[in-house]
Amino acid sequence: MKHILKLHVNGEDFEIFTEMNKTLLEVLREDLGFTGTKRGCDLGACGACTVLIDGKPYLSCLTLAIAVQGKKIVTIEGLAREGKLHPLQKAFIEKGAIQCGFCTPGMILTAKAFLDEHPYPSEEETKRAISGNICRCTGYVKIVEAILSVNENQ
């Protein structure tokens, strides 16, 4: 059954006519074209589809789009502001924390939510926070380095 879905994504309001049983991941990728959100396992066990909802990290593959109407959704496309990269994006790029890039959007958004809650985390806390985001390329070393570097000099 189709319905009118109203979503607030990356600072914009969207109104679309779509199936009721769609996950947020499907709506973001297929209806709204935010393909930066990745589908890695579709069952909540890899973290590639992570987006921010009201600032918290959600698995969009296990979130009903209909259930997050009226909430503030941020995807990787909405993280840079006025053409300026978020410090985490900058750190990931410069530290070599990106290889194939498939886990990157989910990883960065998870890290963003985490740093917002814990601006000066330990290495162990950082590893725990991103432990639901699987990366097969980097061995996580440079990812952890990048996250820890963001608030290092402040």
């Binding site: 069952l43 918290k56 296990l62 979130t63 009903l64 939510a113 926070a129 432990s131």
Partner: protein, 324 residues
Amino acid sequence: MRLPKFEYLEPRSLKKASEALTADPKGTFLLAGGTDLLVNMKHGVIQPKRLINLKAIPHLNYITEGKDGLRIGALTTLHDLASSTLVQDKYPVLGQCALEVAAYTHQVMGTLGGNLCQENRCRYYNQSVFWRSARAPCYKVGGEICHVVRKSKECHSTYRGDMAPVLIAMDAKVKLVGWMGNRTIPLKRLYTQIGKKPLSLRKGEILKEIFIPSPSGQTLYLKWRLRGTLEFPMVSLALHLEKNGEGNIDRAKVILSGLGTGPLEAFEIEKMLKGVSLDDGVIEKISNQMVKEISPMRTSIASPNYQRKMAGILLRQGLEKFKS
């Protein structure tokens, strides 16, 4: 994997939700965090006609402390639980336990109520439609066989929740709201120990609140899994001990997860612990008893033999922590 089609409801109150649930109890499912439910829907092991989104109901996300204990709204997320300074200060084991559930995102999405009401798991059940098509349907999906124990007359699916053992060990009670009225039962009675239908909820009943009496004694939670995150427990153990002035144990609670069709209470161990003072000999003897008291089935990739050994080891570790 797409979700099957369903009707979606956002009632504004629990009463309305309960009414909707009562109208079609078999076809209606409650949605809280969704981390368990949506996976089961994608796997096609449940096919709800209707989903009721409880997260849309206001005032079910709270943590308050009264004279007699702590009240937690069923829709409180595991993340909120772990982040609560009240919990961290007075009921630290609850926060620690919440952090053991899956990973960060699951804790943000998942609710305490949802965690307590999560479905039982089995390696033959938590699989896709394609995967299961290689075998006859099992009891859990309405079939006539158990693939774990071939000659069994019943389903051996296993309870693998993290929060329930700790809360049962702390004598938590749960408030259930139904169209017939409310009732409060000890949390342990929420679990039927029946694989096919693990929860004792009556028609239209919804878990509203978890009550934890003011702590007496100490509680800890030990979880065993291959990796340090994501996974359900291969085996986990909540241990609650109350000691008297002489250091002897007055009261002991030992609750396990991952070993049976519901959270498992180790009665023999509890009996053995009563009245003793923890020394190396006692700990040795009692933890060796654990192996004899449990009989897990091969419902996950962990071997039952190893699970039994680990249950004993976790108990030993727990008791040793309390010794000092």
